[in-house]
Protein backbone atom coordinates (compact mmCIF):
# COMPACT_ATOMS: atom_id res chain seq x y z
CA UNK A 1 0.00 0.00 0.00
CA UNK A 2 2.84 2.38 0.81
CA UNK A 3 4.37 1.63 -2.56
CA UNK A 4 1.06 2.52 -4.15
CA UNK A 5 1.02 5.78 -2.23
CA UNK A 6 4.55 6.80 -3.22
CA UNK A 7 3.74 5.88 -6.82
CA UNK A 8 0.70 8.11 -6.62
CA UNK A 9 2.73 10.98 -5.14
CA UNK A 10 5.42 10.69 -7.82
CA UNK A 11 2.92 10.62 -10.68
CA UNK A 12 1.13 13.67 -9.28
CA UNK A 13 4.50 15.41 -8.97
CA UNK A 14 5.20 14.75 -12.65
CA UNK A 15 1.80 16.18 -13.58
CA UNK A 16 2.57 19.35 -11.67
CA UNK A 17 6.03 19.58 -13.27
CA UNK A 18 4.42 19.40 -16.71
CA UNK A 19 1.89 22.05 -15.68
CA UNK A 20 4.69 24.32 -14.53
CA UNK A 21 6.56 23.85 -17.79
CA UNK A 22 3.40 24.81 -19.72
CA UNK A 23 3.06 27.93 -17.57
CA UNK A 24 6.66 28.86 -18.36
CA UNK A 25 6.00 28.35 -22.07
CA UNK A 26 2.85 30.49 -22.03
CA UNK A 27 4.73 33.13 -20.09
CA UNK A 28 7.40 33.13 -22.75
CA UNK A 29 5.30 33.00 -25.91
CA UNK A 30 2.40 35.23 -24.93
CA UNK A 31 4.29 38.57 -25.07
CA UNK A 32 6.00 37.48 -28.28
CA UNK A 33 2.80 36.93 -30.20
CA UNK A 34 1.51 40.35 -29.16
CA UNK A 35 2.01 43.19 -31.68
CA UNK A 36 4.91 45.56 -31.24
CA UNK A 37 8.39 44.75 -30.02
CA UNK A 38 10.72 45.56 -27.18
CA UNK A 39 12.43 48.35 -29.12
CA UNK A 40 9.13 49.98 -29.91
CA UNK A 41 8.57 50.68 -26.24
CA UNK A 42 12.00 52.28 -25.97
CA UNK A 43 12.06 54.22 -29.25
CA UNK A 44 8.37 54.88 -29.41
CA UNK A 45 6.15 54.47 -32.43
CA UNK A 46 6.20 56.60 -35.57
CA UNK A 47 3.78 59.17 -34.28
CA UNK A 48 5.28 59.42 -30.82
CA UNK A 49 6.94 62.64 -29.76
CA UNK A 50 9.82 60.90 -28.00
CA UNK A 51 13.09 62.51 -29.14
CA UNK A 52 14.90 59.18 -29.45
CA UNK A 53 15.98 58.37 -32.97
CA UNK A 54 17.55 55.05 -33.85
CA UNK A 55 18.58 54.04 -37.32
CA UNK A 56 18.10 50.55 -38.73
CA UNK A 57 21.71 49.48 -38.11
CA UNK A 58 21.59 50.49 -34.46
CA UNK A 59 18.26 48.72 -34.10
CA UNK A 60 19.74 45.51 -35.51
CA UNK A 61 22.73 45.75 -33.18
CA UNK A 62 20.52 46.23 -30.15
CA UNK A 63 18.29 43.30 -31.17
CA UNK A 64 21.40 41.19 -31.64
CA UNK A 65 22.72 42.19 -28.24
CA UNK A 66 19.56 40.99 -26.56
CA UNK A 67 19.45 37.80 -28.71
CA UNK A 68 16.15 38.95 -30.16
CA UNK A 69 17.16 38.03 -33.70
CA UNK A 70 17.57 34.37 -32.78
CA UNK A 71 14.83 31.95 -33.84
CA UNK A 72 12.05 31.59 -31.25
CA UNK A 73 12.97 28.09 -30.10
CA UNK A 74 16.56 29.15 -29.38
CA UNK A 75 15.24 32.10 -27.39
CA UNK A 76 12.96 29.72 -25.52
CA UNK A 77 15.85 27.45 -24.58
CA UNK A 78 17.79 30.48 -23.33
CA UNK A 79 14.74 31.56 -21.37
CA UNK A 80 14.22 28.18 -19.73
CA UNK A 81 17.88 27.77 -18.79
CA UNK A 82 17.91 31.30 -17.34
CA UNK A 83 14.75 30.58 -15.40
CA UNK A 84 16.38 27.54 -13.82
CA UNK A 85 19.32 29.72 -12.82
CA UNK A 86 16.86 32.10 -11.13
CA UNK A 87 17.63 34.73 -13.75
CA UNK A 88 14.31 36.30 -14.68
CA UNK A 89 15.76 39.39 -16.31
CA UNK A 90 16.08 42.99 -15.26
CA UNK A 91 13.30 45.25 -14.10
CA UNK A 92 12.73 48.13 -16.48
CA UNK A 93 11.42 50.41 -13.74
CA UNK A 94 13.71 49.59 -10.81
CA UNK A 95 16.70 48.56 -12.95
CA UNK A 96 17.67 45.67 -10.66
CA UNK A 97 17.36 41.90 -11.22
CA UNK A 98 13.73 40.78 -11.03
CA UNK A 99 14.61 37.95 -8.66
CA UNK A 100 15.97 40.44 -6.12
CA UNK A 101 12.70 42.37 -6.17
CA UNK A 102 10.62 39.22 -5.84
CA UNK A 103 12.68 37.90 -2.95
CA UNK A 104 12.26 41.22 -1.15
CA UNK A 105 8.47 41.08 -1.55
CA UNK A 106 7.82 37.39 -1.05
CA UNK A 107 8.18 37.21 2.78
CA UNK A 108 5.51 39.88 3.24
CA UNK A 109 3.05 38.11 0.99
CA UNK A 110 3.74 34.76 2.61
CA UNK A 111 3.20 36.37 6.02
CA UNK A 112 -0.04 38.04 4.96
CA UNK A 113 -1.52 35.19 2.93
CA UNK A 114 -0.25 32.50 5.26
CA UNK A 115 -1.80 34.00 8.38
CA UNK A 116 -5.03 34.83 6.55
CA UNK A 117 -5.21 31.31 5.12
CA UNK A 118 -4.56 29.79 8.53
CA UNK A 119 -7.20 31.95 10.23
CA UNK A 120 -9.85 31.61 7.53
CA UNK A 121 -9.37 27.84 7.27
CA UNK A 122 -9.41 27.25 11.02
CA UNK A 123 -12.48 29.38 11.66
CA UNK A 124 -14.14 28.31 8.42
CA UNK A 125 -13.87 24.65 9.43
CA UNK A 126 -14.98 25.31 13.02
CA UNK A 127 -18.03 27.36 12.07
CA UNK A 128 -18.88 25.09 9.14
CA UNK A 129 -18.83 21.95 11.28
CA UNK A 130 -20.81 23.56 14.08
CA UNK A 131 -23.32 24.95 11.61
CA UNK A 132 -23.78 21.53 9.98
CA UNK A 133 -24.12 19.83 13.37
CA UNK A 134 -26.89 22.24 14.38
CA UNK A 135 -28.41 22.50 10.93
CA UNK A 136 -31.76 24.25 10.98
CA UNK A 137 -30.94 25.87 14.33
CA UNK A 138 -30.50 29.53 15.20
CA UNK A 139 -26.71 29.53 14.93
CA UNK A 140 -26.89 27.85 11.53
CA UNK A 141 -29.41 30.38 10.21
CA UNK A 142 -27.39 33.32 11.54
CA UNK A 143 -24.14 32.05 10.00
CA UNK A 144 -25.87 31.36 6.69
CA UNK A 145 -26.80 35.06 6.52
CA UNK A 146 -23.60 36.61 7.90
CA UNK A 147 -21.06 34.60 5.90
CA UNK A 148 -22.37 35.28 2.38
CA UNK A 149 -22.81 38.93 3.45
CA UNK A 150 -19.05 39.21 4.04
CA UNK A 151 -18.38 37.37 0.81
CA UNK A 152 -20.47 39.84 -1.17
CA UNK A 153 -18.62 42.95 0.04
CA UNK A 154 -15.81 43.69 -2.40
CA UNK A 155 -12.44 43.23 -0.68
CA UNK A 156 -11.17 46.71 -1.53
CA UNK A 157 -14.35 48.31 -0.14
CA UNK A 158 -14.14 46.33 3.09
CA UNK A 159 -10.49 47.35 3.29
CA UNK A 160 -11.35 51.02 2.86
CA UNK A 161 -13.99 50.82 5.60
CA UNK A 162 -11.56 49.11 7.93
CA UNK A 163 -8.91 51.74 7.30
CA UNK A 164 -11.47 54.46 8.01
CA UNK A 165 -12.84 52.90 11.21
CA UNK A 166 -9.88 51.12 12.80
CA UNK A 167 -7.08 53.16 11.31
CA UNK A 168 -8.31 56.72 10.95
CA UNK A 169 -11.22 57.14 13.42
CA UNK A 170 -9.99 55.07 16.34
CA UNK A 171 -6.31 55.05 15.48
CA UNK A 172 -5.89 51.50 16.74
CA UNK A 173 -3.92 50.26 13.78
CA UNK A 174 -1.59 51.86 11.22
CA UNK A 175 -3.32 52.44 7.89
CA UNK A 176 -0.58 51.39 5.48
CA UNK A 177 2.75 49.69 5.01
CA UNK A 178 4.22 46.64 6.69
CA UNK A 179 6.56 48.33 9.18
CA UNK A 180 7.10 51.84 10.49
CA UNK A 181 9.90 53.34 8.36
CA UNK A 182 13.13 54.48 10.07
CA UNK A 183 11.89 53.18 13.40
CA UNK A 184 14.34 52.51 16.21
CA UNK A 185 13.22 49.25 17.78
CA UNK A 186 13.86 48.65 21.46
CA UNK A 187 14.11 44.91 20.88
CA UNK A 188 12.89 42.00 18.79
CA UNK A 189 9.52 41.95 20.60
CA UNK A 190 9.00 45.59 19.74
CA UNK A 191 9.87 44.79 16.14
CA UNK A 192 7.43 41.89 16.02
CA UNK A 193 4.64 43.99 17.55
CA UNK A 194 5.15 46.66 14.90
CA UNK A 195 4.92 44.07 12.12
CA UNK A 196 1.87 42.52 13.76
CA UNK A 197 0.01 45.81 14.13
CA UNK A 198 0.62 46.57 10.45
CA UNK A 199 -0.45 43.07 9.52
CA UNK A 200 -3.74 43.02 11.45
CA UNK A 201 -6.03 45.01 9.17
CA UNK A 202 -5.04 43.53 5.79
CA UNK A 203 -4.99 40.07 7.34
CA UNK A 204 -8.49 40.44 8.80
CA UNK A 205 -9.70 41.81 5.51
CA UNK A 206 -8.27 38.87 3.55
CA UNK A 207 -9.64 36.45 6.17
CA UNK A 208 -13.12 37.96 5.87
CA UNK A 209 -12.80 37.55 2.12
CA UNK A 210 -11.73 33.90 2.29
CA UNK A 211 -13.61 32.48 5.28
CA UNK A 212 -17.17 32.45 3.85
CA UNK A 213 -16.08 30.18 0.99
CA UNK A 214 -14.45 27.71 3.35
CA UNK A 215 -17.39 27.90 5.76
CA UNK A 216 -19.98 27.13 3.07
CA UNK A 217 -17.88 24.31 1.65
CA UNK A 218 -17.30 22.69 5.04
CA UNK A 219 -20.95 23.06 6.01
CA UNK A 220 -22.15 21.41 2.80
CA UNK A 221 -19.67 18.54 2.94
CA UNK A 222 -20.42 17.90 6.62
CA UNK A 223 -24.20 17.97 6.17
CA UNK A 224 -23.77 15.24 3.54
CA UNK A 225 -21.67 13.22 5.97
CA UNK A 226 -24.26 13.55 8.75
CA UNK A 227 -26.65 11.24 6.89
CA UNK A 228 -24.04 8.50 6.53
CA UNK A 229 -24.54 5.23 8.45
CA UNK A 230 -21.26 5.58 10.33
CA UNK A 231 -22.49 8.77 12.01
CA UNK A 232 -25.68 7.08 13.19
CA UNK A 233 -23.61 4.14 14.38
CA UNK A 234 -21.21 6.46 16.19
CA UNK A 235 -24.24 7.84 18.00
CA UNK A 236 -25.66 4.45 18.86
CA UNK A 237 -22.26 3.40 20.20
CA UNK A 238 -22.72 6.15 22.76
CA UNK A 239 -19.72 8.18 21.62
CA UNK A 240 -19.32 11.70 22.91
CA UNK A 241 -20.35 14.57 20.67
CA UNK A 242 -16.72 15.61 20.23
CA UNK A 243 -15.68 12.17 19.01
CA UNK A 244 -18.54 12.05 16.51
CA UNK A 245 -17.59 15.47 15.17
CA UNK A 246 -14.02 14.25 14.79
CA UNK A 247 -15.25 11.39 12.58
CA UNK A 248 -17.29 13.77 10.45
CA UNK A 249 -14.31 16.08 10.07
CA UNK A 250 -11.90 13.32 9.03
CA UNK A 251 -14.33 12.26 6.32
CA UNK A 252 -14.98 15.82 5.11
CA UNK A 253 -11.45 17.16 5.18
CA UNK A 254 -10.19 15.68 1.90
CA UNK A 255 -12.48 17.68 -0.42
CA UNK A 256 -11.98 20.72 1.82
CA UNK A 257 -8.17 20.58 1.57
CA UNK A 258 -8.34 20.13 -2.19
CA UNK A 259 -10.80 22.97 -2.57
CA UNK A 260 -8.75 25.36 -0.43
CA UNK A 261 -5.64 24.58 -2.44
CA UNK A 262 -7.58 25.17 -5.64
CA UNK A 263 -8.94 28.47 -4.30
CA UNK A 264 -5.42 29.68 -3.57
CA UNK A 265 -5.26 31.25 -7.01
CA UNK A 266 -8.29 33.38 -6.17
CA UNK A 267 -6.67 34.31 -2.91
CA UNK A 268 -3.67 35.65 -4.82
CA UNK A 269 -6.10 37.81 -6.80
CA UNK A 270 -7.72 38.97 -3.57
CA UNK A 271 -4.29 39.79 -2.20
CA UNK A 272 -3.63 42.11 -5.15
CA UNK A 273 -6.63 44.26 -4.14
CA UNK A 274 -5.97 44.16 -0.44
CA UNK A 275 -2.24 44.84 -0.64
CA UNK A 276 -2.96 47.79 -2.90
CA UNK A 277 -5.59 49.22 -0.56
CA UNK A 278 -3.34 48.83 2.48
CA UNK A 279 -0.14 49.69 0.56
CA UNK A 280 1.27 46.41 1.82
CA UNK A 281 4.64 45.76 0.15
CA UNK A 282 3.85 42.22 -1.00
CA UNK A 283 3.63 40.51 -4.39
CA UNK A 284 0.11 41.79 -4.97
CA UNK A 285 1.10 45.43 -4.81
CA UNK A 286 4.20 44.66 -6.88
CA UNK A 287 1.99 43.19 -9.61
CA UNK A 288 -0.31 46.20 -9.49
CA UNK A 289 2.54 48.75 -9.67
CA UNK A 290 4.40 46.84 -12.37
CA UNK A 291 1.25 46.82 -14.42
CA UNK A 292 0.94 50.59 -14.13
CA UNK A 293 4.61 51.02 -15.05
CA UNK A 294 4.45 48.40 -17.84
CA UNK A 295 7.34 46.64 -16.10
CA UNK A 296 6.89 43.38 -18.06
CA UNK A 297 9.90 41.44 -16.74
CA UNK A 298 8.73 41.94 -13.17
CA UNK A 299 5.16 41.03 -14.09
CA UNK A 300 6.30 37.83 -15.80
CA UNK A 301 8.58 36.96 -12.94
CA UNK A 302 5.81 37.53 -10.41
CA UNK A 303 3.42 35.32 -12.38
CA UNK A 304 5.95 32.51 -12.50
CA UNK A 305 6.60 32.81 -8.76
CA UNK A 306 2.92 32.84 -7.90
CA UNK A 307 2.10 29.89 -10.12
CA UNK A 308 4.97 28.02 -8.56
CA UNK A 309 3.61 28.71 -5.06
CA UNK A 310 0.04 27.73 -6.03
CA UNK A 311 1.25 24.52 -7.69
CA UNK A 312 3.43 23.65 -4.70
CA UNK A 313 0.49 24.15 -2.33
CA UNK A 314 -1.74 21.95 -4.50
CA UNK A 315 0.93 19.29 -4.53
CA UNK A 316 1.25 19.49 -0.75
CA UNK A 317 -2.55 19.18 -0.48
CA UNK A 318 -2.49 16.05 -2.68
CA UNK A 319 0.18 14.46 -0.52
CA UNK A 320 -1.71 15.33 2.68
CA UNK A 321 -4.93 13.85 1.27
CA UNK A 322 -3.26 10.60 0.26
CA UNK A 323 -2.17 10.17 3.87
CA UNK A 324 -5.64 10.90 5.27
CA UNK A 325 -7.52 8.73 2.80
CA UNK A 326 -5.52 5.64 1.88
CA UNK A 327 -7.89 4.97 -1.01
CA UNK A 328 -6.83 8.11 -2.91
CA UNK A 329 -5.46 7.34 -6.33
CA UNK A 330 -6.11 3.59 -6.09
CA UNK A 331 -8.90 3.40 -8.66
Amino acid sequence: MDRKRSGHIISRGLEYAITFFLILAINFFLPRVMPGGPLLSITGSQGSDLPVVIDEEMKYKLMDYYHLNDPLHIQFIHYISDAFHFDLGHSIFYNVPVVDILIGRLPWTILLMGTALLLSTTFGIMTGLESAWRRGGKLDHALLVIMPFFRSIPAFFLGAIMIFVFGYKTGWFPTSGAITPYMDYAGPIDHAMDILSHLTLPMLCLTAFEMPGTYLLVRNVCVQQLGKPYVLMAESRGLKERTIKKHILINSIVPVINQIAAMLGFMVAGAVFIETVFSYPGMGMLVYNSFIERDYPVLQGAFIFMSLVVLACNYAADIACSFIDGRAGQE
Binding site: P229, S236, K240, I250, I324, G326
Partner: protein, 317 residues
Protein backbone atom coordinates in the same frame (compact mmCIF):
# COMPACT_ATOMS: atom_id res chain seq x y z
CA UNK B 1 -40.00 -7.76 34.98
CA UNK B 2 -38.74 -7.97 31.39
CA UNK B 3 -35.35 -6.53 30.45
CA UNK B 4 -36.86 -4.16 27.91
CA UNK B 5 -40.48 -3.17 28.25
CA UNK B 6 -42.07 -0.91 25.67
CA UNK B 7 -45.64 0.13 26.52
CA UNK B 8 -48.17 2.06 24.44
CA UNK B 9 -45.40 3.68 22.43
CA UNK B 10 -46.56 6.08 19.75
CA UNK B 11 -44.13 8.10 17.65
CA UNK B 12 -44.94 10.88 15.21
CA UNK B 13 -42.63 12.94 13.06
CA UNK B 14 -43.72 16.39 11.98
CA UNK B 15 -42.46 17.35 8.54
CA UNK B 16 -43.41 19.91 5.92
CA UNK B 17 -45.89 17.47 4.35
CA UNK B 18 -47.66 16.91 7.64
CA UNK B 19 -47.44 14.59 10.60
CA UNK B 20 -46.18 11.07 9.95
CA UNK B 21 -47.71 8.54 12.34
CA UNK B 22 -44.93 5.99 12.39
CA UNK B 23 -45.53 3.96 15.54
CA UNK B 24 -48.99 3.43 16.98
CA UNK B 25 -49.56 2.04 20.44
CA UNK B 26 -46.74 -0.49 20.33
CA UNK B 27 -46.30 -2.99 23.16
CA UNK B 28 -43.16 -5.08 23.08
CA UNK B 29 -41.05 -6.77 25.72
CA UNK B 30 -37.86 -8.76 25.80
CA UNK B 31 -36.84 -11.03 28.67
CA UNK B 32 -33.34 -11.82 29.77
CA UNK B 33 -31.55 -14.24 27.45
CA UNK B 34 -34.29 -14.09 24.86
CA UNK B 35 -33.96 -13.49 21.12
CA UNK B 36 -36.99 -11.63 19.86
CA UNK B 37 -37.73 -10.99 16.20
CA UNK B 38 -39.53 -7.94 14.89
CA UNK B 39 -40.75 -8.57 11.35
CA UNK B 40 -42.48 -6.22 8.95
CA UNK B 41 -42.15 -4.76 5.49
CA UNK B 42 -40.19 -1.63 4.62
CA UNK B 43 -41.66 1.50 6.15
CA UNK B 44 -43.64 -0.35 8.80
CA UNK B 45 -41.73 1.39 11.59
CA UNK B 46 -39.31 -1.34 12.72
CA UNK B 47 -36.21 0.80 12.55
CA UNK B 48 -38.02 3.73 14.13
CA UNK B 49 -38.79 1.50 17.10
CA UNK B 50 -35.11 0.56 17.41
CA UNK B 51 -33.94 4.15 17.06
CA UNK B 52 -36.52 5.39 19.54
CA UNK B 53 -35.34 2.88 22.14
CA UNK B 54 -31.77 4.09 21.53
CA UNK B 55 -33.00 7.70 21.38
CA UNK B 56 -30.98 8.55 18.27
CA UNK B 57 -33.85 9.97 16.19
CA UNK B 58 -35.01 12.82 18.40
CA UNK B 59 -35.13 15.40 15.57
CA UNK B 60 -38.78 16.46 14.96
CA UNK B 61 -39.97 13.49 17.00
CA UNK B 62 -43.05 13.47 19.19
CA UNK B 63 -43.55 10.42 21.34
CA UNK B 64 -45.85 9.10 24.03
CA UNK B 65 -45.75 5.89 26.05
CA UNK B 66 -43.14 4.28 28.28
CA UNK B 67 -39.89 2.54 27.58
CA UNK B 68 -38.31 0.75 30.54
CA UNK B 69 -34.92 -0.88 30.44
CA UNK B 70 -33.44 -2.75 33.41
CA UNK B 71 -36.29 -1.37 35.54
CA UNK B 72 -35.48 2.22 34.64
CA UNK B 73 -37.59 4.54 32.52
CA UNK B 74 -35.39 5.49 29.57
CA UNK B 75 -37.80 7.65 27.58
CA UNK B 76 -37.09 11.31 28.30
CA UNK B 77 -33.80 10.46 29.95
CA UNK B 78 -31.09 13.13 30.15
CA UNK B 79 -28.81 13.15 27.10
CA UNK B 80 -25.63 12.26 28.95
CA UNK B 81 -27.27 9.38 30.87
CA UNK B 82 -28.75 8.03 27.63
CA UNK B 83 -25.34 8.23 25.96
CA UNK B 84 -23.98 6.04 28.77
CA UNK B 85 -26.65 3.43 28.15
CA UNK B 86 -26.06 3.35 24.40
CA UNK B 87 -23.08 1.19 23.59
CA UNK B 88 -22.55 0.07 27.17
CA UNK B 89 -25.92 -1.50 28.07
CA UNK B 90 -27.67 -1.54 24.70
CA UNK B 91 -25.51 -2.52 21.75
CA UNK B 92 -26.61 -1.88 18.22
CA UNK B 93 -25.87 -3.65 14.96
CA UNK B 94 -27.29 -1.05 12.61
CA UNK B 95 -29.00 -1.24 9.26
CA UNK B 96 -26.49 -1.20 6.36
CA UNK B 97 -23.89 -2.00 8.96
CA UNK B 98 -21.41 -2.69 6.20
CA UNK B 99 -20.99 1.07 5.95
CA UNK B 100 -21.45 1.76 9.64
CA UNK B 101 -17.73 1.92 10.35
CA UNK B 102 -15.89 5.14 9.62
CA UNK B 103 -14.11 4.17 6.38
CA UNK B 104 -10.99 6.26 7.09
CA UNK B 105 -10.29 5.28 10.69
CA UNK B 106 -8.45 2.13 11.74
CA UNK B 107 -10.57 -0.63 13.25
CA UNK B 108 -8.53 -0.48 16.44
CA UNK B 109 -9.18 3.24 16.98
CA UNK B 110 -12.90 2.74 16.49
CA UNK B 111 -12.95 -0.05 19.08
CA UNK B 112 -10.83 2.02 21.46
CA UNK B 113 -13.04 5.08 21.26
CA UNK B 114 -16.11 3.02 22.15
CA UNK B 115 -14.30 1.64 25.19
CA UNK B 116 -13.00 5.08 26.17
CA UNK B 117 -16.47 6.59 25.91
CA UNK B 118 -17.75 4.29 28.66
CA UNK B 119 -14.88 2.99 30.80
CA UNK B 120 -11.41 3.89 32.10
CA UNK B 121 -9.50 0.88 30.84
CA UNK B 122 -5.75 0.96 30.38
CA UNK B 123 -4.31 0.70 26.91
CA UNK B 124 -3.28 -2.89 27.50
CA UNK B 125 -6.77 -3.87 28.66
CA UNK B 126 -8.34 -2.13 25.66
CA UNK B 127 -5.98 -3.97 23.33
CA UNK B 128 -6.74 -7.40 24.75
CA UNK B 129 -10.49 -6.73 24.84
CA UNK B 130 -10.42 -5.64 21.20
CA UNK B 131 -8.40 -8.68 20.21
CA UNK B 132 -10.76 -11.04 22.07
CA UNK B 133 -13.83 -9.46 20.49
CA UNK B 134 -12.42 -9.75 17.00
CA UNK B 135 -11.40 -13.34 17.62
CA UNK B 136 -14.91 -14.17 18.79
CA UNK B 137 -16.33 -13.21 15.39
CA UNK B 138 -13.52 -14.89 13.47
CA UNK B 139 -11.48 -11.86 12.42
CA UNK B 140 -7.71 -12.09 12.80
CA UNK B 141 -6.80 -9.62 15.59
CA UNK B 142 -3.56 -8.84 13.72
CA UNK B 143 -5.69 -6.98 11.20
CA UNK B 144 -7.02 -4.47 13.74
CA UNK B 145 -4.68 -1.83 12.31
CA UNK B 146 -6.41 -1.94 8.93
CA UNK B 147 -9.06 0.46 7.73
CA UNK B 148 -12.64 -0.78 7.07
CA UNK B 149 -12.29 -0.49 3.29
CA UNK B 150 -9.69 -3.24 3.38
CA UNK B 151 -12.29 -5.81 4.53
CA UNK B 152 -15.04 -7.57 2.60
CA UNK B 153 -18.69 -6.85 3.32
CA UNK B 154 -19.21 -9.99 5.37
CA UNK B 155 -16.06 -9.31 7.38
CA UNK B 156 -17.17 -5.75 8.07
CA UNK B 157 -20.48 -7.11 9.27
CA UNK B 158 -18.69 -9.42 11.68
CA UNK B 159 -16.48 -6.57 12.89
CA UNK B 160 -19.67 -4.59 13.45
CA UNK B 161 -21.10 -7.39 15.58
CA UNK B 162 -17.86 -7.54 17.58
CA UNK B 163 -18.02 -3.79 18.09
CA UNK B 164 -21.60 -3.83 19.32
CA UNK B 165 -20.81 -6.68 21.74
CA UNK B 166 -17.58 -5.10 22.91
CA UNK B 167 -18.74 -3.98 26.35
CA UNK B 168 -21.04 -7.00 26.85
CA UNK B 169 -24.30 -5.05 26.75
CA UNK B 170 -27.41 -6.57 28.31
CA UNK B 171 -29.39 -6.01 25.11
CA UNK B 172 -28.42 -6.00 21.46
CA UNK B 173 -30.59 -4.46 18.80
CA UNK B 174 -29.74 -5.84 15.38
CA UNK B 175 -31.48 -3.88 12.63
CA UNK B 176 -31.58 -5.88 9.40
CA UNK B 177 -28.25 -7.53 10.21
CA UNK B 178 -28.24 -9.71 7.10
CA UNK B 179 -30.00 -7.63 4.47
CA UNK B 180 -27.02 -6.54 2.37
CA UNK B 181 -25.37 -9.95 2.39
CA UNK B 182 -25.62 -12.91 0.05
CA UNK B 183 -27.39 -16.07 1.16
CA UNK B 184 -24.37 -18.06 2.34
CA UNK B 185 -23.00 -15.20 4.39
CA UNK B 186 -26.50 -14.51 5.77
CA UNK B 187 -26.58 -17.98 7.26
CA UNK B 188 -23.15 -17.54 8.85
CA UNK B 189 -24.05 -14.17 10.32
CA UNK B 190 -27.33 -15.34 11.85
CA UNK B 191 -25.57 -18.35 13.37
CA UNK B 192 -22.84 -16.07 14.66
CA UNK B 193 -25.42 -13.76 16.24
CA UNK B 194 -27.06 -16.64 18.04
CA UNK B 195 -23.71 -18.02 19.26
CA UNK B 196 -22.57 -14.65 20.52
CA UNK B 197 -25.83 -14.02 22.35
CA UNK B 198 -25.52 -17.39 24.08
CA UNK B 199 -21.85 -16.88 24.92
CA UNK B 200 -22.32 -13.44 26.41
CA UNK B 201 -25.70 -14.32 27.94
CA UNK B 202 -27.42 -11.25 26.54
CA UNK B 203 -30.80 -10.62 24.96
CA UNK B 204 -31.37 -9.55 21.41
CA UNK B 205 -33.98 -7.79 19.33
CA UNK B 206 -33.59 -8.77 15.67
CA UNK B 207 -35.34 -6.60 13.15
CA UNK B 208 -35.93 -7.87 9.64
CA UNK B 209 -38.28 -7.91 6.71
CA UNK B 210 -37.26 -11.46 6.02
CA UNK B 211 -39.26 -13.77 8.25
CA UNK B 212 -37.50 -16.94 7.16
CA UNK B 213 -33.86 -16.01 7.61
CA UNK B 214 -34.36 -14.52 11.02
CA UNK B 215 -36.98 -16.85 12.47
CA UNK B 216 -34.38 -19.63 12.80
CA UNK B 217 -32.76 -17.93 15.73
CA UNK B 218 -35.77 -16.26 17.38
CA UNK B 219 -37.57 -17.43 20.52
CA UNK B 220 -40.51 -15.09 20.02
CA UNK B 221 -41.68 -13.00 17.09
CA UNK B 222 -43.61 -9.76 16.72
CA UNK B 223 -45.20 -8.97 13.37
CA UNK B 224 -45.49 -5.29 12.59
CA UNK B 225 -47.71 -3.65 10.00
CA UNK B 226 -48.11 0.10 9.40
CA UNK B 227 -46.65 0.99 12.77
CA UNK B 228 -48.74 -1.47 14.75
CA UNK B 229 -47.94 -4.87 16.19
CA UNK B 230 -50.50 -7.09 14.45
CA UNK B 231 -49.50 -10.46 15.83
CA UNK B 232 -47.15 -11.89 18.40
CA UNK B 233 -46.30 -15.34 19.61
CA UNK B 234 -43.55 -17.89 20.00
CA UNK B 235 -41.67 -18.81 16.88
CA UNK B 236 -43.59 -22.05 16.41
CA UNK B 237 -46.95 -20.35 16.86
CA UNK B 238 -46.14 -17.75 14.22
CA UNK B 239 -44.55 -20.14 11.73
CA UNK B 240 -46.95 -23.04 12.06
CA UNK B 241 -50.18 -21.43 13.06
CA UNK B 242 -50.38 -17.81 11.91
CA UNK B 243 -53.73 -16.16 12.64
CA UNK B 244 -53.57 -12.63 11.28
CA UNK B 245 -54.22 -12.50 7.50
CA UNK B 246 -51.07 -10.37 7.10
CA UNK B 247 -48.87 -12.96 8.81
CA UNK B 248 -50.42 -15.67 6.69
CA UNK B 249 -49.70 -13.74 3.51
CA UNK B 250 -46.18 -12.92 4.69
CA UNK B 251 -45.51 -16.64 5.17
CA UNK B 252 -47.11 -17.49 1.85
CA UNK B 253 -44.82 -15.11 -0.02
CA UNK B 254 -41.79 -17.21 0.80
CA UNK B 255 -39.86 -18.86 -1.98
CA UNK B 256 -40.05 -22.59 -1.32
CA UNK B 257 -36.68 -24.28 -1.55
CA UNK B 258 -36.05 -27.54 -3.41
CA UNK B 259 -39.46 -27.84 -4.93
CA UNK B 260 -41.11 -27.51 -8.28
CA UNK B 261 -41.46 -24.00 -9.62
CA UNK B 262 -44.53 -22.33 -8.16
CA UNK B 263 -46.03 -18.91 -8.47
CA UNK B 264 -45.10 -17.05 -5.34
CA UNK B 265 -48.04 -15.28 -3.84
CA UNK B 266 -47.08 -11.79 -2.96
CA UNK B 267 -49.25 -9.34 -1.07
CA UNK B 268 -51.18 -7.13 -3.45
CA UNK B 269 -51.52 -3.41 -2.92
CA UNK B 270 -49.11 -1.06 -1.17
CA UNK B 271 -48.52 -0.30 2.50
CA UNK B 272 -50.65 2.56 3.80
CA UNK B 273 -49.32 6.10 4.04
CA UNK B 274 -47.97 7.17 7.40
CA UNK B 275 -49.54 10.59 6.86
CA UNK B 276 -53.10 9.20 7.11
CA UNK B 277 -54.83 8.45 10.38
CA UNK B 278 -56.81 5.23 10.13
CA UNK B 279 -60.10 4.74 11.97
CA UNK B 280 -60.26 1.09 10.93
CA UNK B 281 -57.76 -1.72 10.42
CA UNK B 282 -54.78 -0.51 8.32
CA UNK B 283 -54.58 -3.84 6.51
CA UNK B 284 -58.23 -3.83 5.38
CA UNK B 285 -57.47 -2.52 1.88
CA UNK B 286 -55.16 -5.44 1.17
CA UNK B 287 -56.96 -8.13 3.16
CA UNK B 288 -59.10 -10.74 1.40
CA UNK B 289 -60.97 -11.83 4.53
CA UNK B 290 -62.70 -8.53 5.20
CA UNK B 291 -66.03 -8.85 7.02
CA UNK B 292 -68.64 -6.20 7.91
CA UNK B 293 -67.22 -5.54 11.33
CA UNK B 294 -63.84 -4.59 9.80
CA UNK B 295 -65.46 -1.62 8.06
CA UNK B 296 -66.82 -0.07 11.24
CA UNK B 297 -64.84 -1.15 14.28
CA UNK B 298 -61.10 -1.09 14.92
CA UNK B 299 -59.67 -4.54 15.67
CA UNK B 300 -58.34 -5.12 19.21
CA UNK B 301 -54.89 -3.78 20.02
CA UNK B 302 -52.11 -6.30 20.39
CA UNK B 303 -51.41 -5.56 24.04
CA UNK B 304 -51.52 -7.49 27.28
CA UNK B 305 -52.94 -10.93 26.60
CA UNK B 306 -54.24 -10.11 23.13
CA UNK B 307 -51.94 -11.78 20.66
CA UNK B 308 -53.59 -10.97 17.35
CA UNK B 309 -54.91 -7.61 16.25
CA UNK B 310 -57.74 -8.92 14.09
CA UNK B 311 -61.48 -9.37 14.42
CA UNK B 312 -61.20 -12.86 12.97
CA UNK B 313 -59.45 -14.03 16.10
CA UNK B 314 -62.43 -12.93 18.19
CA UNK B 315 -64.84 -14.78 15.91
CA UNK B 316 -62.91 -17.97 16.17
CA UNK B 317 -63.29 -18.08 19.91
Amino acid sequence: MPLLDVKELSVNFSTKEGVHHVLKNVDLNINKGEIVGLIGESGSGKSTLAMTVLDINSRNREMSGNISFMEERIDNLKKERMRNIRGKHIGSVPQSSMNALDPLVKIRSQFFETIKAHTDMSRQEMLSLTARSLEMVGIDPLRMNSCPYEFSGGQRQRIMIALSMLLSPELIIADEPTTALDATVQLKITTLLKDVVQQKNTSMLVISHDLHTISRICDRIYIMYAGRIVETGTRDEILNDPVHPYTQKLLASRLPLMCEPVRVKGISGTPPSTLKKYEVCEFMERCDKVSDICRTVRPPECTGNVKVACHMECHLE
